[in-house]
């Protein structure tokens, strides 16, 4: 059977059954429709899902998952598709469950500073809804105007302001989860205290492998009353990296501490997001301090400005007003978009290193870029040591993508050798499966797989992601599935789907 006929058959009975649950217009079977879901924010992976379904309520999600469980069909949950690891991609034999229609903010409790949302709520919408209460939702990935909170939960998303306030896991208090078999469970408790082992903490960042979060209870924070945003420019990347360590060691925790190198600065300044960054700087640091007390924030900002100057900043600009602050931040937040000017394709990389190693690691990345003849731009969360070396290239040039892959691998190796890890906020997905054995041994990987099997015994939810099964050591109690080859969790399901299609 060719892929085309399989799709046509799949478009029959399964689509009809899904259509009965969600309404026919929320099921996509035609190839041109499915192709629009073939990528996430990373251009290097393309997988066309077999069927796309967009449920409109929790009950519809449950019904869809139960149908797929009964039929043994794998599925992949997806939010807005802004992920950067190929995590929310489904193959031709799987159903993509798109959650963007579950977009209601169910409750905002200003007294207890809590919100309850559906997974498809766009990140920035929650802060806008909480603003009249003087509250906001803190995790702020650069894609926050598009990405969904469900996706943030799956990836344990970060963002510039996670330096002071913590990543998504810090802010998620409870979850309603639809498991692989369609069972609905409540994890956590209304106040955020774990109810038993911390299954909320375990679920956050599990990249969709443990089920679908259909209700998410999050903590809101008071909007800071005082903010200072500083832009420090440096004539050398190394000096900027050293200044980061000095700021961290000062004991003052900035809300955000971001770095952009010259390549990134120029991409931004050439774009509509031009923020007035100095083009001749080798790097700039964007440092924000916030709090509830104007005098304390002002004093701490003065201290930080002094540290930056003492560590080689040519100049330190303090945003004069909210407008200038927004402009400085817009350049940073839209830097990935601005890099679209540099070339046709962009690989946004993600790794974390100990902060004190930033100067050495940045220099090593520069050497790798030179060796491979590639343009690498750095824009990243320096305060966390969370690097984003971005490689611009034209995927149509023969052999170039392979070079980009090799360079990415070398960058990862440098970060691991420095004591770091392969992802700080983008996740493993498909893109980083190959690096997992570099940081985890066979027992650790097997333990992860065994945990996944507790939630999803048949490995039908977002199959093939996060844990490279071939690298797992044997683990007692881990069953292998009849009719499947080791390393291919979907092999059995393929047969079942064909049967369904007949």
């Amino acid at each position: 059977m060719t892929a085309g006929t399989a799709t046509a058959e799949r478009g029959g009975s399964l689509a009809a059954a899904l259509g009965e649950i969600v309404g026919a217009r929320h099921v996509r079977t035609a190839l041109p429709e499915r192709v629009t879901f073939a990528r996430d924010g990373l251009p290097t992976h393309r997988h066309v899902p077999g069927v796309v379904v967009l449920p409109g309520s929790r009950d519809e999600v449950v019904a869809v998952v139960r149908l797929l469980a009964a039929l043994g069909v794998p599925f992949v949950p997806r939010g807005a598709g802004t992920g950067l690891s190929g995590g929310a991609l489904a193959d031709d034999d799987a159903v993509l469950i798109v959650l963007t229609r579950l977009n209601r903010i169910l409750a905002i409790d200003p007294v207890n500073r809590i919100a309850v949302v559906e997974p498809g709520v766009v990140n920035v919408r929650l802060s806008a809804a909480a603003a009249p209460h003087g509250l906001y939702y803190s995790p702020d990935p650069s894609s926050q105007t598009a990405c969904t909170i469900g996706g943030n939960v799956a990836e344990n998303a970060g963002g510039p302001h996670c330096l002071k306030y913590g990543v998504t896991a810090t802010h998620v208090l409870g979850l309603e989860v639809v498991l692989a078999d369609g069972q609905v469970v409540e994890l956590g408790s209304p106040g955020g205290e774990p109810w038993g082992p911390d299954l909320v903490g375990l679920f956050v960042g599990s990249e969709g492998n443990f089920g679908i979060a259909t209700r998410i209870r999050v903590r809101l924070l008071p909007v800071p009353r005082a903010i200072r945003t500083l832009l420090a420019d440096f004539s050398a990347l190394r000096t900027a990296g050293e200044a980061v360590s000095a700021v961290i060691a000062s004991g003052i925790v900035p809300a955000a501490l971001e770095m952009m190198d010259q390549s990134c600065i120029n991409a931004v300044e050439d774009s509509v997001y031009a923020a007035g960054y100095p083009r001749d700087a080798a790097a700039v640091l964007l440092v924000e301090l916030d709090g509830c007390r104007e005098e304390a924030v002002a004093a701490d900002a003065d201290t930080i400005a002094g540290i930056l100057r003492a560590h080689g900043a040519r100049g330190v600009l303090s945003a004069a007003d909210a407008k200038q602050r927004e402009r400085l931040w817009q350049g940073r937040k839209k830097a990935f978009g601005a890099m679209g000017r540099l070339s046709r394709d962009l690989v946004v990389q993600d790794a974390v290193v100990p902060r004190s190693t930033l100067p050495d690691v940045l220099e090593a990345i520069g050497r790798i870029a030179t060796a491979y003849g590639l343009t690498v731009s750095n824009v990243f969360h320096a305060g966390d040591g969370n690097l984003h070396p971005n490689i611009s290239f034209d995927g149509r040039v023969p052999g170039l993508k392979a070079r980009v892959d090799q360079a990415s691998g070398e960058i990862m190796a440098v970060c691991i050798a420095a004591g770091g890890t392969i992802t700080g906020e983008h996740g493993i997905g498909l893109d980083k499966l190959r690096y997992m054995p570099l940081i985890f041994d066979g027992d650790a990987l097997a333990a992860m797989r065994a945990v996944r099997l507790v939630f999803d015994p048949l490995e039908r939810v977002n199959p093939g992601k996060v844990v490279p099964i071939h690298a797992c050591r044997e683990w007692s109690g881990v069953r292998t599935h009849p009719g499947r080859e080791p390393g291919d969790p979907r092999a059995g399901a393929r047969g079942e789907l064909s049967e369904l299609a007949r």
């Binding site: 205290e193 969370n386 027992d443």
Partner: protein, 403 residues
Amino acid sequence: MSWVDRVRALLGDDAVDVAATPDGVPRVAPGSPDAVALLLGTAREEGWRVRVEGAGTWLPVDAPADLALTTRRLDKVPAIEPQDLSATAEAGIACDLLRQQLADRGTWLALDPPGLAGRTLGSVVATATAGPLRHGFGPVRDHLLGVTFVTGDGRLVQSGGRVMKNVAGYDLTKLAAGGFGAFGVIVLVHLRLRALPRADQTLVLEGSREDLAQVAEDIAAAAVQPAAHELMSPALARRERWLLAVRFAGSAALVSAEEGALRAATGGRFTALRADEAHALWMRAAESFATRPVTFRVGALPDSSDELMDLLQHQVGDEWISASPGIGAIRWGGETTVDRLRRLRRTLAGLEVPLTLERAPWPVRAAVGHFGAYREGVGPLVAGLRRTFDPGEAFVVAVEGTE
């Protein structure tokens, strides 16, 4: 060969301390994570039931077992990195010794768990017992970058890492933190540190509980942001009346501004403590819980804190209470019975408030369980996770209780 001889052959003579435990259970003190793995692998093969101990100052060392595994020889601190604000410590290090070593390098672990100063780091992580600093710096899990633990069948499993952000693979650290040892023996912990605060000021106010609850609300409404904001019962605070203690820690400018805001919001009623007085207050409160036979914690919505304290007063008394009303966390200590704990847990479950039993004599732990009943559908997940990490049921841990 007797099992003692086998353990001696495996780990060396000085790893076995046969006569040391009060209940006669032989105690083994492995000197490395690999030795813990070796021991538990053997325990699995032999079907030994193992209880895990730290310094023995928090959970009573009274669970029935074939042998006691203590982490007390895992007391090294392989790395303190002031520039990265991270550290790696073995699980058996005493909290006070760790704190001193960190302070010597200008760093600080912002955790002030209940119990004696010599309590081990592993004990704090395994039981997720945060103290008053949880208000400003979060629960225990927020201070962990990664852990290494040994499963019931002797596998060393590393999770997380030693960098500030990490989403590589599933976050098994969250299972280890607060798992009460049901999923493994924690042997190594990577910690997120802070710079030693340049200023650290505690202010207190005595009054009736009702009055102080109102003051606590005023403080929250004024957006005062303390490191700790704790309401303590008179016995715990060693005062005539209830005590509201507020602690600020950070830069001098921050502490000064927050202290000013506190005074403005409360009409200048608070009294500032000297550093030695503040140290004594917080330390005594932490240590007092180790002198009570039973402690538990409940976590609720902040606006129900007062109602919950009424409930505790009614059902189990309120002599030993330490509460962070701003985040809805309450720790209770005292003497009580299995029946009362069960009744209280049922009442709280009806209010969607979990009760986690932190410490109690074995008969109480065995009957009540650290967690008791779970929410619907969660029990099979926990059972599956336990089978995954302890397939031979080697660990003697009272997770659910017997009700």
